[in-house]
């Protein structure tokens, strides 16, 4: 179904799903105004999805959370689902995740509850077009900015897509299974020591890295609240309010850690025991309430070399393979 002019697609949200927002890789250079980066909770999946449909890796896509939505395509296009498996169908026929799919006008994509994980990206050739706010398309729900007027999708929303690349991928492509296994391995979440790690007793530091923590229901894009063994400080009281890094693990007086996530407050006064390494941040985006996690301390050198390995694997030659018909 190739058309000579590669038209701009648009899609209709028949149903929005539980929580669906427009996201790209986030909004930098705004922390001094109190605005955290937002952006995809699982940037690795977003980037892989964009690779599959021939988009730049930062192209805006729909981030679906826990329960996916249904979308009708009004023009021919190519899309890919990247992230959690939602048992998606196209006109009632099962379609695979992590693979580019060609779609005809009038076809409907239906996504259901996620079987595991928390988020899946619907990436469409050309990307979703919204008015950028402070140089990014990403929705920041707390600040009510970006994406669709700063809100999540509603039924009846029509989303415009951008011009597809001059040469859209002609053959279906899939993400290499081995690469996916590396990205989403089940091991502990790796962390580096936090700036106030020494405010915690040696006992508590050990407990943090040897215990299992459960993700609580009250978790969202701002932060993931954890339940597990209580972490005690050597001295009480808050530290002077200071900047917060993405992935910082802060410990309020109740001793239950919180992982600060993509819509985190830009500053805070609770001490931070650790910080999730950059190469594992996307795995935080796939955690759902009641998931159990462990932490493992690594040094900064390890953290950076893991990030470099990840970046290498995110190149098209490593990540993608043709689909055998």
């Amino acid at each position: 179904m190739r058309t000579p002019s590669h038209p701009r697609a648009s899609i209709l949200a028949v149903s929005p799903g539980f929580l669906t927002t427009v996201q790209d890789l986030g909004r930098d250079h705004c922390a001094h105004w109190g605005i955290s980066p937002s952006g995809a909770a699982d940037p690795v999946s977003l980037r892989l999805g964009n690779l599959l449909v021939g988009n730049p890796q930062n192209a805006p896509a729909l981030e679906m959370t826990l329960i996916g939505g249904s979308f009708r395509f009004e023009q021919p296009s190519i899309f890919a689902l990247a992230g959690s498996d939602m048992g998606a169908t196209l006109d009632n026929e099962e379609i695979p995740a992590w693979q580019s799919v060609r779609v005809r006008p009038g076809q409907t994509l239906r996504c259901g509850p996620m079987k595991s994980g928390a988020r899946c990206y619907l990436c469409i050739a050309g990307g979703i077009v919204v008015q950028p706010v402070l140089s990014s398309a990403s929705t920041h729900l707390l600040a009510a900015l970006g994406g669709l007027s700063g809100r999540s999708l509603k039924a009846g929303d029509v989303l415009q897509c951008g011009a597809q690349r001059a040469e859209p991928p002609t053959k279906a492509r899939a993400v290499n299974k081995r690469v996916l296994e590396i990205f989403f391995e089940n091991g502990p979440i790796r962390v580096t020591a936090g700036p106030q790690g020494d405010l915690f007793s040696a006992d508590s530091q050990l407990r943090f890295s040897t215990s299992t923590y459960t993700v609580k229901e009250e978790s969202d894009r701002m932060g993931l609240r954890l339940k597990g063994p209580i972490l005690r400080r050597v001295v009480d009281g808050d530290t002077t309010t200071e900047g917060i890094s993405l992935g910082a693990i802060q410990v309020p007086p109740d001793g239950q850690p919180i992982i600060l996530f993509v819509e985190h407050p830009t500053t805070g006064g609770y001490p931070k025991i650790a910080n999730v390494i950059s190469a594992d941040l996307h795995r935080i985006g796939q955690l759902r309430p009641r998931d159990q996690i462990n932490f493992e301390f690594v040094n900064h050198e390890n953290a950076i070399s893991l990030l470099k390995e990840q970046e290498d694997l995110l190149s098209p030659q490593h990540a993608l393979q043709p689909v055998r018909q």
Partner: protein, 236 residues
């Protein structure tokens, strides 16, 4: 704090993608000046790896992309700036007047703050609007100014259970701090009034009315005046 004496400025890798520079533990105008100078230098001599700058009371956190510049190289870039803080002139503070309607309909904790401190509500309004406050930094949520110093007569503990929604524009007291919630958000500070001004608008540049280093004065206004200003703000 451990007994060993810490030396300042202190450089810490807060994560594999951020560096924390701390000038001291106390909240002081001296450290605020250090923060302002480093913030200014980071902006006038930018590094292409820099992603975000988080100025605070006595520290600056800088997040960067470690794939663009190696962490060791980024550290030395920041250390060089800290070595020449005084190369940058701190410009004179901008004075900003914020109209506030101190009325119990808009400030549900006004009477509590008065009662807690053995004052009348008029005393609270008089004290709160009698001083000039420094914007130490903007942080926590979009456009939220950390202001100092609150007159000691008005210190009031935070709510034990934060409100789920504090209306945008609420002026509040938390312990020995005072601030303004620019957008509706959860919050545990005591609300004593509300400003009709829109202090955060992502479509403006800059998006916040107040910026680090500004001097703020609150001007009490009547409910009627509040409503007329609010109408003027809301008109397209």
């Amino acid at each position: 704090m451990s007994s060993e004496k810490l030396s300042y400025p202190r450089f810490q890798r807060a994560s594999d993608h951020s560096l924390l520079v701390t000038f001291g533990e106390r909240i002081s105008r001296k450290h605020h000046r250090d923060v302002l100078q480093l913030f200014g230098l980071l902006q006038s001599a930018p590094n292409r790896a820099t992603r975000n700058i988080h100025p605070a009371y006595s520290s600056v956190l800088i997040s960067f992309n470690p794939l663009v510049t190696r962490p060791e190289k980024f550290d030395s870039y920041v250390r060089r700036l800290v070595d020449r803080l005084d190369d940058i002139e701190v410009s004179a503070s901008r004075g900003v007047e914020i109209p506030v309607c101190y009325d119990k309909t808009l400030g549900p904790d006004l009477e509590f703050v008065a009662h807690h401190n053995g004052l009348t509500t008029d005393d609270v309004i008089r004290h709160h609007s009698s001083v000039e406050y420094l914007v130490y930094f903007i942080g926590f949520s979009p456009g939220f100014p950390y202001l100092g110093e609150l007159p000691y007569q008005l210190r009031t503990p935070r709510l034990s259970t934060p409100r789920v929604i504090v209306p945008g524009g609420s002026v509040a007291i938390g312990g020995n701090q005072t601030g303004i919630y620019p957008i509706a958000s959860p919050g545990g500070w005591r609300i004593i009034g509300r400003t009709p001004l829109k202090l955060f608008d992502p479509l403006r540049m800059p998006p916040t009315t107040l910026e680090i280093g500004d001097m703020v004065r609150f001007k009490p206004i009547s409910v009627l005046h509040y409503q007329s200003l609010l109408g003027a703000v809301d008109k397209p």
